[in-house]
Symmetry: C2
Subunit: 114 residues, 2 copies
């Protein structure tokens, strides 16, 4: 039995936990968008195709809660907020690159053009 709980949810194996940190439609695109350094909220919106405010802000909150990213608030008007990877977040990038590679391989194999 590898059952365990994290943040009030039950997990059956390490894979489920990993996916809680990087899974879903938006977490990996967000993490990749931060790989080069801090990016502000509005720029994330612009660089991640198709994302909407609700998804962006709720996923940012979730990633922050899990220690994958950090917020930095500047006390200006209008406000400015930067997001950046933590060490844990940086660690996920290598894995996300591998997942992306597999996706690109699948596109090749399946004859999907882009």
């Amino acid at each position: 039995m590898t059952n365990f709980t994290y943040q009030g949810r039950l997990y059956y194996n390490p894979i489920e936990l990993a996916m809680a940190f990087i899974g879903g439609t938006w977490k990996m695109p967000i993490l990749l968008a931060l790989r080069k350094g801090p990016v502000r909220y509005g720029d994330l919106r612009k660089t991640i195709p198709h994302i909407n405010d609700k998804m962006l802000y709720s996923q940012l909150r979730d990633l922050e809660e899990k220690g994958m990213i950090q917020r930095k608030v500047y006390q200006t008007k209008p406000p400015r907020v930067d997001y950046m990877l933590t060490d844990l977040g940086k660690k996920s990038i290598k894995l996300i690159d591998k997942i992306n590679d597999f996706g690109e391989y699948l596109m090749e194999v399946e004859g999907i053009s882009h």
Copy 2:
């Protein structure tokens, strides 16, 4: 724009496609259960904790449709069906191991015991 379609669904990037092949609660556990060679339906049920018939058979169908696994039916009574990885399925194992490693690392970092 990297938009494309596969099996009637729209994808925005390679990551989404990769997750269609290995994502969800059950695909990775199923693929790992097949890593050592062919396994029959009933044994998959027994070795994958908490899975139920509906999830097992529907995910097996999906994985087969995507070319990740192969079915082999023996014409006996009661029936016997073996499932095994295709070359594509084998290719996914390395990646799944990496995802699992990341999950185990998270368990360590988060102080989760098992």
